[in-house]
């Protein structure tokens, strides 16, 4: 493998891995903050138990997000130093702001939240988790400002052999950001919704200690998951339409639309040859892609072949077609799991409203197994966004091949790739073990049905608190 391939693979692995943790942090932070706010406002101990139970899982997940996040920041310089030289003037800014605005806020107030239960007043404690949640939302925003520049560069000029910022306002008000950001935000909400829904359902079926904790968690999570999944879908739809304008190749690649069509058909199932460059077999519904991209049945959607020809004319000879098997199937995996989540959340809401949560244990158990769905959608969403932009690292400005570090040998990179992959694999096992352990354990004695036992302070709490 050459350095480029290794660097790309490493970026894919570390990014997708990092993004296993981030959406849950974003979504669950807000949800736990809501729970604690209810506790402060109503003084109802059940909400406190909810806060503590979900807070514990939040913290385990958060730690993984932090440590894998540092790798992301370093990686741009380590593997992609030519890219860093080219865009640092612009790209470094949101990264630095993210650290200054978001990371300090999250980490400092999470420390106060974890360790401050008995040290700060109730209201301050709830404010701390809100600040953590706000910090993680800020973090999502600024990293998406950075990513949006890669997807649709704005506010820059090319001078001194690099892209230089001329309009910071254009960067943060870019329409791309304001479509991508809510999409990711609600993906986080959905992830947390299904996480809480699945684990609550498990405990409701098992009739574990603290039924009230899980009943209310389930109710909150239903609303959260349904609102999140519907909104993420609607915004995703807008995003698709926007792609039609700014990155038509990504859209065509997601649809495996080889030739320009008017009206454009939607592929239900397309097989290509192994190179990903040619269609072998396809089942299509006429008009649907037109409907999805322009809200009518008749508009023209450009196909891959025409776009390729256009790009050759504009940017010179080269292959401007992303790797179709990934764009095509990641799009379907994302949308498919999204639709399935809307359905599951809808049914769950019906059960809550009809008061029938207890009558369908099989469905409730199914919800536990639905927890991977948002993760599947999140990962595939990023695969589509990043692979679909290829061969560009900054759309229209710099090709990925030109961004890779020149001084790092493929062997060194391979060593780092293998090391990180092994370490990440081991950590995933540990993380899932801990999450499952604490999720399964349910509310502990301390947080259980009985009133707070204040005698259990100190050494008794040692160990698995």
């Amino acid at each position: 493998m050459d350095a480029l391939a290794v660097a790309r693979l490493q970026f894919a692995i570390t990014t997708v891995y990092h993004f296993f943790f981030v959406p849950l942090t974003v979504g669950l932070g807000i949800l736990v903050a809501l729970m604690e706010t209810l506790y402060v406002l109503r003084g109802d101990e059940v909400y406190k138990r909810m806060t503590k139970f979900w807070g514990k899982l939040f913290v385990i997940n958060f730690a993984m997000g932090v440590v894998t996040g540092i790798v992301m920041e370093f990686q741009f310089g380590m593997n992609w130093s030519e890219y860093a030289r080219f865009v640092g003037d612009i790209f470094g800014v949101p990264l630095a702001i993210e650290a200054l605005l978001a990371f300090f806020l999250e980490s400092t107030f999470l420390g106060i939240w974890i360790f401050g239960w008995d040290r700060v007043p109730k209201g301050v404690h709830a404010a701390a988790i809100w600040l953590v949640a706000i910090g993680s939302v800020f973090s999502a925003f600024w990293i998406l400002v950075a990513n949006s520049f890669m997807q649709e560069p704005v506010g820059y000029v090319l001078s001194n052999g690099r892209a230089e910022m001329v309009d910071f306002g254009a960067l943060v008000t870019s329409l791309h950001v304001w479509i991508q950001f809510p999409h990711v935000l609600f993906a986080g909400v959905t992830t947390a919704g299904f996480f809480v829904l699945g684990i609550s359902a498990y405990h409701l079926v098992k009739k574990s200690r603290g039924q009230e904790v899980f009943r209310r968690s389930f109710q909150m999570a239903v609303v959260y998951a349904l609102a999140g999944s519907v909104l993420v879908g609607l915004i995703g739809h807008t995003q698709g339409q926007y792609l039609h304008e700014v990155q038509p190749m990504k859209l065509a690649a997601a649809e495996a639309l080889w030739n320009t069509e008017q009206p454009a058909s939607f592929s239900i199932f397309t097989l290509g040859d192994l190179s990903g460059k040619k269609e072998v077999f396809s089942i299509r519904i006429p008009g649907v892609v037109s409907l999805l991209t322009c809200n009518n049945l008749t508009c023209e959607v450009k196909g891959i072949n025409d776009l390729q020809a256009e790009f050759v004319q504009k940017y010179g000879p080269g292959d401007y077609v992303p790797f179709l098997p990934i764009t095509y199937w990641s799009f379907r995996a994302m949308v498919g799991s999204g639709l399935l989540m809307i359905l599951l959340a809808g049914i769950s809401l019906y059960l809550v409203l009809a008061g029938k949560m207890g009558q369908y244990p099989k469905f409730m158990k199914l919800l536990l197994w639905a927890i991977p769905l948002p993760y599947l959608a999140n990962s595939n969403g990023w695969l589509l966004a990043e692979v679909g932009r290829q061969p560009w690292v900054v759309y229209g400005l710099m090709k990925t091949a030109d961004g890779v570090s020149q001084v790092v040998s493929p062997g060194t990179m391979l060593f780092s790739l293998l090391t990180f992959t092994l370490v990440y694999g081991a950590l995933m096992v540990v993380d899932i073990y801990l999450l499952a352990k604490y999720a399964r354990k349910g509310v502990t004695e301390e947080e259980g049905e009985s009133p707070q036992v204040s005698l259990t302070g100190g050494a008794v709490l040692e160990g698995e608190v």
Partner: protein
């Protein structure tokens, strides 16, 4: 002062914050296996930095982000050039970060021993590597006319830089021991005090050896002169005073002194560098400076405004969090980690 210099100063400030705060975190991690006689002890030790270590680490992340934004060429050259060292550092930081969070979440002694070991190694390795990195920035590394690092991993491991690495470990160990003697009670605080006594002399020896080595290995002395002024001298005096305060059991003052040593030494190093950020050992003209490595004036302006607004806010709330957790921690307390 032009904006390039402002950012050189700001990056220095970020590194001072990082070394001051993560300095004692690393020290605490390095001391963990030696001062923690049983599991409860080790938990107390970890809990002294429990609420703050993550916020402290953000100083590093922000320093990295600031270098990327203000001096992208520096960021690109250093991060691609110091590649394997950074892989090691990242692995260390990963093990240490999840170690804090995970170690007490299972009772299994092997589990806990494993994380304790990772916390120890994860504190020692970055402390050492930051020293090595800073040593190399000043000493100079092979950088060619295109700002590319053309050395190898082994180039970084020269005796001078390794000495710097050891000096970092010693001063962070000392800083951490004093911090622990301030934050713990009873027998553990006594052990921390003894550790501080024991760390002081090696720290003095290593740091003065490092200063002498700098005379031969770098151009620090030609640049700063024989009488380098109050800042480097202040660092030396503070380090010597640390020993006296420890002996007098004025741990608060001793902590102020190690803090001063760290801050003033960092400033000394950056004074020796200025206006360079990475010295080229091949040709002085190929060194990276705050001018040839910097972002555009517009970007520096935007970043300056952002920093002027948010750095004070961060300092305020981080200071407040230290105030909340100002109490000593004992074996009888509720231990979250």
């Amino acid at each position: 002062m032009d904006l390039n210099t402002v950012w050189f100063v700001l990056v220095t400030v970020l590194f001072i914050g990082f070394f001051l705060l993560e300095g004692f975190d690393y020290g605490v991690g390095i001391l963990l296996p030696f001062l923690g006689k049983d599991d409860t002890d080790r938990r107390v030790i970890i809990n002294t930095i429990g609420p703050v270590w993550d916020g402290n680490e953000v100083w590093l992340i922000t320093a990295g982000g600031a270098i990327f934004a203000a001096f992208p060429q520096w960021y690109a050259t250093m991060f691609s050039g110091f590649y394997l060292a950074l892989v090691l550092m990242l692995l260390a930081l990963i093990g240490r970060g999840v170690g804090f969070e995970f170690r007490s979440k299972d009772r299994n002694p092997t589990w806990r021993a494993l994380w304790d070991w990772l916390i120890f190694a994860g504190s020692l390795v970055p402390a050492l590597l930051w020293g090595v990195a800073f040593g190399n920035l000043v000493r100079g590394v092979p950088i060619d006319a295109n700002m590319q690092y053309v050395g190898s991993f082994w180039t970084l491991l020269n005796p001078y830089a390794l000495l710097d690495g050891l000096a970092f470990v010693a001063i962070f160990g000392l800083h951490g021991a004093i911090f622990l003697s301030l934050k713990t009670k009873g027998e553990l605080a006594e052990r921390a005090h003894k550790a501080a006594m024991r760390f002081w002399l090696p720290a003095v020896v290593l740091i003065f050896a490092y200063v002498i080595a700098s005379y031969f290995a770098t151009d620090m002395f030609t640049r700063l002169g024989i009488n380098p002024g109050p800042i480097p001298l202040g660092a030396g005096v503070a380090l010597l005073a640390t020993g006296w305060f420890i002996r007098q059991r004025h741990h608060g003052w001793a902590f102020v002194m190690t803090s001063l040593t760290i801050a003033l030494s960092t400033i000394t190093v950056t004074m020796g560098l200025y206006p360079r950020v990475m010295v080229s050992s091949l040709n002085p003209d190929w060194s990276l400076t705050i001018y040839n490595a910097s972002s555009s004036p517009y970007t520096l302006r935007v970043m300056t405004i952002v920093a002027l607004i948010f750095v004070p806010i961060v300092l305020l709330y981080q200071g407040w969090s230290y105030w909340i957790f100002r109490k000593r921690i004992g074996r009888e307390d509720v231990l979250e980690y």
